[in-house]
Amino acid sequence: METTAIALVLLPALAGALAFAMPTERPQRWLMLATAAAHLALVGASIANPPAPAPNDWLHADSLGLLFLGITSTLFFVAAVYAVGYLQREVRAPRPDFVEGVLFSNQPERVFVGCMLLFLAAMSLVTVSQHMGVLWVAIEATTLASAPLIYFHRHHRSLEATWKYLLLCSVGIAVALLGTFFLAIAASGVRGEGAPLLLSDLIAGGAGLHVVWLKAAFLLLLVGYGTKMGLAPFHSWLPDAHSESPSLVSALMSGALLNCAFLGILRAYQVVAAAGEAPFARELLIGFGLLSMAVAAVFIIGQSDYKRMLAYSSVEHMGILSLGVGIGGAATFGAMFHALNHSLTKGLLFLVAGNALAAYRTTSVRGVRGMLRLLPVSGPLWTAGFLAITGMPPFGSFLSEFTILQATFAQGHPLIAVAFLVLLAVIFIGMAAVFLRMVMGEPWTQPVVAHKESVLAVAPPALLALTALLLGLYLPPAVDNTLQAATGLLGGVR
C-alpha cells in the first residue's frame, strides 16, 4: 500500500480523535489549522510528483484522485483558517436565534473540530481509494462525519436539516452499496488476483464484465452517489443542509463533499467505459445534468434565501459537471476544470455569505442591502463571486463552461448546447436579481457605518477569489497536467 495515501487519511483521523480527547478549546482550533496545513503540504508534494501506481493497491492517489484531493485539501485549509476567526466570533452562551428568536446554544467545540477533521479524513479516503468497496465505506463515512457539523447551531431548523441529510444520504448510499454488489457480480467473470472490486482489475478485465449487471450496477451507483452529489431529483437535502449549517461547513460540503460523491460516479463510469458501454452511461449523465440545471433554475429564480440560492447553484454546477463528462471529448476536460473552478468559487461565496450573515443577522435576501457600503471587503468579494459563479470572464469558470459548450457543438449535439446555454442564461438572470439587490443600494441600518472586518473573516475568501481569477487568466502547468491526466483516465481529450 502507498504510504502517502495512508498518511493523508490517518493524519486527520488521528488529529480528530485527539481533538475529541482535548479538554480545552483554544488549542483545538490550532490543531485543526496545523493538520490542514500539513495535509495541504502532503497533497502539494504528491501533485508535484505524482506517485507511481503499484499493482492492486487499495489506496493510491491517481491523477483523478489527486485532482479532487487537491480541491478538498485546499478548500479545507482555507475553511480552517476561516474557522479560527469564526469560532472566536461565536457566542458560547445560549442566545436567541434570528428567525424565531428561540434560545439555542452551540455544540461543544471539540465535537465540531473533531468532526471537521474526521470529515477531512473520510474525504481523503474517498479520493485515494482504488477499491469500490473502500470507496463506498468512505463516502458513507463522510455522511456520518458531517451530520454533526450541520447541527452545530442546535436549534430545530438545523436539526431538521440534519435529519433529512442523514436519511436521504443513507438511503442513497445504501442503494449505492447494492450497486457495488452488482458490480461484484458483474466482475465475477474477471480473474483479478485479490478482491474482485479493485478498480485496476475491473478496468483491465473490462471486456469480461457482464453487461447487464454492469448497467444495473451503474444505474444504482448513479442514483446512490447521485443523491450524495446532489443531482436532481435526488438533491432535495442540499438546500436545507447548506442553508442551516455554519457557512464554512456549507463551503466544505458544496466545494469538497459533492465532488467526492461525483468521484464515486466517475469511478463507476471508468469501469463502464472500460467495458465499452460508455454511450449508455453518457446519455444518462447528460440527462441528469440537464435535469439538474433545470431544477436549479426553477428554484434560483426569485429565491428569497441567499444560502439556499447558493445550494441550488451547487445543484446546477453538479449538473454541469455531469453534463460535461456525458458529452465527452474536450468537454470532459472542461468538466474537470469546472469542478476546480466551482469549488473555489462556491467556497468563496459561502464564506462571504457567513460574513453577510454575521453582519445582517438574516439569510433573507430582502434583509440584505448595500453590502458594498456596509462591508467594504465582503461586498466586492460577494460581487466577484457572483461574476465567477455565473461564468463571467476573466474568471476560470468562463473558460471551463465555454470548453464544454464548444465540445458539445464539436461532438454534434447542437440542441443540447442550446439547452445548456438557455439554462445558464436563465440562471444568470435569476442570480443577477438576487445578488444586485444585496450588494447595491443603501443598507437598512441608518446611519451607514462601514464595518471593520477582521482579517480572518475576509482573507480566506479573498484568497479563493484571487485563485479563481488567476485560473481564468493563466492555467499553471502543474494544474493543467493534472487536469489532462484526469481527463485521460476518463477517456476524454483536451
Binding site: 430545530h156 443513507s170 447494492l178 428569497s304 430582502r366
Partner: protein, 230 residues
C-alpha cells in the same frame, strides 16, 4: 442445502411484509430485529461449504447488531422520547401490503432480467433482496414517524445484505466489517437525532419536520427593516 436457504429467504421476505403490515411500532421493531437474526443465520447456512473464521465473525456481528443492539437503541430512544405506540402511516396498512406485494412482483420481473452469471446458493436471492429493498423504501416513504423511517432504512439494508449472499466470492473481511460499522454508526446517529428531535419537537413525527421548504417564503425576522420597506 438449497431448500433451507429458500425457506429462510422467504422468511426474510415475509418478515418484511409483516413489518409493512404491523400497526404498532414496538412490534415493528421486533420484526425487524428478527429479520436481522434470520439474516445472520442465512449468512452461515449459505456458506456451510466453507465456514471460515471471518464468516462466523461477520455473521455474529450481524446478529449482534441487527438483532440486539439496534433494537435496544431504538427502544431506548423511543422510551426517552415518549413516542406513542401507533405507526401513523400516510397510506393504510392494507394498501401498504398490496403495494408491497406489487413491489415483490416488480422485483421478480427485474430479477428475470438479471440472470446470475454463476450458480449461487439459490435463485431466490435476487428477487427476495430486491423485494425487501423495495419494501424498505415503501416503509420509508409511507410512514410518518422518524422511528419507523429508521426501521424502513434497516429493512432496506437487510435487503441489500441478502444480496450479499449472491456474491460467489465473498468480499474481504475489512470491507464487510466496514460496511457493518457504517450501517451501525448510521443507525446510531439516527437514533441520537431522533432523541434530539424529541427534545426540540413535542413528539417524533417526521411529518412535522417540514419547515425548510421553498413553498411559502419562510417568515424571516429581519433586523432594522421597517414593515413599510418590506
Amino acid at each position: 442445502m438449497s431448500p433451507v436457504i429458500d425457506l429462510l429467504l422467504i422468511l426474510v421476505l415475509l418478515l418484511a411484509l409483516a413489518a409493512l403490515a404491523s400497526s404498532k411500532i414496538a412490534r415493528c421493531v421486533r420484526i425487524v430485529a428478527a429479520q436481522g437474526i434470520v439474516l445472520g443465520v442465512l449468512f452461515i447456512v449459505s456458506r456451510l461449504g466453507d465456514v471460515t473464521l471471518h464468516l462466523v465473525a461477520v455473521a455474529a456481528a450481524m446478529i449482534a447488531l441487527k438483532g440486539l443492539v439496534i433494537p435496544w437503541l431504538l427502544f431506548r430512544s423511543m422510551r426517552e422520547a415518549g413516542v406513542q405506540r401507533e405507526v401513523e402511516p400516510y397510506i393504510g396498512f392494507q394498501l401498504s401490503v398490496v403495494l408491497g406485494a406489487l413491489a415483490v412482483g416488480v422485483a421478480f420481473v427485474l430479477s428475470e432480467l438479471l440472470p446470475l452469471p454463476e450458480a449461487t446458493s439459490s435463485q431466490l436471492v435476487v428477487p427476495v433482496s430486491l423485494a425487501t429493498l423495495f419494501i424498505g423504501l415503501l416503509l420509508l416513504v409511507s410512514r410518518k414517524k422518524a422511528v419507523t423511517q429508521v426501521l424502513g432504512y434497516i429493512v432496506l439494508e437487510n435487503g441489500i445484505f441478502v444480496f450479499g449472499l449472491a456474491l460467489a466470492r465473498e468480499l474481504p473481511t475489512l470491507i464487510e466489517m466496514g460496511v457493518l460499522l457504517d450501517i451501525f454508526v448510521g443507525v446510531f446517529v439516527m437514533g441520537i437525532t431522533i432523541y434530539q428531535i424529541n427534545r426540540e419537537f413535542d413528539h417524533i413525527d417526521a411529518n412535522k419536520l417540514q419547515e425548510l421548504n421553498d413553498m411559502n417564503r419562510r417568515r424571516h425576522r429581519i433586523p432594522h427593516v421597517r414593515d413599510a420597506d418590506r
